[in-house]
């Protein structure tokens, strides 16, 4: 399966707004690496990346690569198009990301989309995994899909 070619949202959707602090996070996305900001002082994990740790104010921060798995924390099915070319409904979700294998002391949530799923099939607590939507050579966006049994 050529995941590079998979698209769920039209190009007319708003592009991510990138700033100096979030640029490295989006840069990792272009390499299809889902990351979280990890504080080297207190091991707090945070998304989006910020100039200082929200827990201990340290500026000794790094991005750590996550395994791309997570749990569906909350979601909604949106029936109102943002772009006229869009397929409706689409799902906006909050995914609680697995930080296993990193030094992070807390899990961290990401607002994202669930793709390739009917809203009625979703349950809070479902296991999900990241799948990348490559918009251009400069922008890839992490979406999520349900983990199938045995996956």
């Amino acid at each position: 399966m050529n995941t590079q070619a998979q698209r769920w949202f039209p190009n007319s959707m708003p592009a991510p707004l990138v700033d100096a602090h979030t640029h490295p996070w989006w840069q990792a996305c272009t390499e299809h690496r889902l990351t979280a900001q990890h504080c080297k002082q207190c091991h707090h994990a945070h998304i989006p990346p910020a100039p200082i740790c929200s827990e201990c104010n340290s500026s000794e921060l790094e991005l750590v690569t996550l395994n791309g798995r997570g749990i569906l924390y909350s979601y909604t099915a949106v029936h109102q198009a943002v772009s006229p070319e869009q397929t409706l409904p689409f799902i906006i979700a909050v995914v609680e990301l697995d930080v296993g294998g990193t030094a992070c002391r807390n899990s961290v949530r990401l607002m994202t989309n669930i793709v390739d799923a009917e809203p009625a099939a979703l349950r809070i607590g479902d296991q999900v995994r990241v799948i990348w939507e490559t918009i251009s050579e400069y922008v890839s966006i992490p979406r999520f899909m349900l983990v199938k049994q045995g996956e």
């Binding site: 945070h46 998304i47 929200s54 924390y73 909350s74 909604t76 099915a77 949106v78 029936h79 109102q80 409904p89 906006i92 909050v94 961290v108 949530r109 990401l110 607002m111 809203p119 809070i124």
Partner: protein, 239 residues
């Protein structure tokens, strides 16, 4: 809804109550458009569980509030033969980790995720004013969406956490006989979307006895700003 079993009908009853109030208000955009729970349930879905009538309107308009010294207010009140409206207490703020709240921040603490995020602020308001929820005669609660009204009713202590649905079922929000007449002008859902300043005006009107949905002997009015984002609230008292 996942946590407490709140239903779309609970949300619909909020919209229906406020529309009933707007139908008595000549300034209301929805003055001549009644709304039934059935119509609410049949309205198109916007973002589940919010249907069309769970969302506030978009409209043009203007309103203003004049705030002055107690002495000047007394003179004006006498001249207008109106009650003087005192700002008893004001608060603003957001809980730790909130930034833009549940609207944009996926990482607000789990224990306040399914709330309006205004409980701590509400507690400060009650303390600063030396008043309690039971002292409130009428409320103007920011209603960009029906669900945020339900969560603020819980945040401000008018009912227990998770019991907002039952509170609404009791008819509490209705001006005629409800235990907490709320958004007596119709609010953002049915009067006008003036970003909440119309709630402040209606707060004053309800204490002047000039509301289209008057609450008899109303002395204390709560006015809140939005849930789900950094917020603010005021307590008004009529003299």
């Amino acid at each position: 809804m996942h946590k407490y079993g709140t239903t779309s009908e609970h949300l619909g009853k909020i919209a229906v109550a406020f529309r009933k109030h707007a139908n008595r208000n000549p300034r209301a955009v929805m003055k001549d458009k009644p709304l039934t729970l059935e119509q609410h349930q049949q309205s198109r879905m916007i973002a589940d569980p919010f249907r069309l009538f769970d969302c506030c309107m978009e409209n043009d308009g203007a309103c203003a509030v004049v705030i002055t010294t107690e002495e000047r207010a007394q003179d004006l009140a006498r001249a207008k033969q109106r009650a003087r409206v005192e700002i008893v207490a004001t608060v603003q703020g957001a809980p730790k980790g909130y930034s833009f709240g549940s609207f944009t921040n996926a990482n607000i603490p789990d224990e306040i995720y399914a709330t309006g995020g205004t409980e701590q602020m509400a507690n400060r308001l009650w303390n600063n004013a030396d008043l309690k929820p039971l002292d409130v005669d009428v409320a103007q609660i920011y209603d960009h969406f029906t669900g945020s009204v339900l969560m603020q009713l819980e945040d401000f202590g008018f009912c227990q956490r998770g019991e907002g649905g039952d509170f609404i079922d009791s008819g509490a929000l209705h001006w005629d006989g409800g235990s907490l007449p709320t958004n007596t002008s119709g609010g953002s859902l049915s009067e006008a979307y003036m970003h909440g300043l119309n709630h402040v005006l209606e707060g004053a009107r309800s204490l002047w006895g000039e509301s289209c949905c008057p609450v008899e002997d109303a002395r204390v009015c709560l006015v809140t700003s939005a849930a789900g984002v950094p917020s603010s609230a005021i307590l008004l008292r009529g003299h």
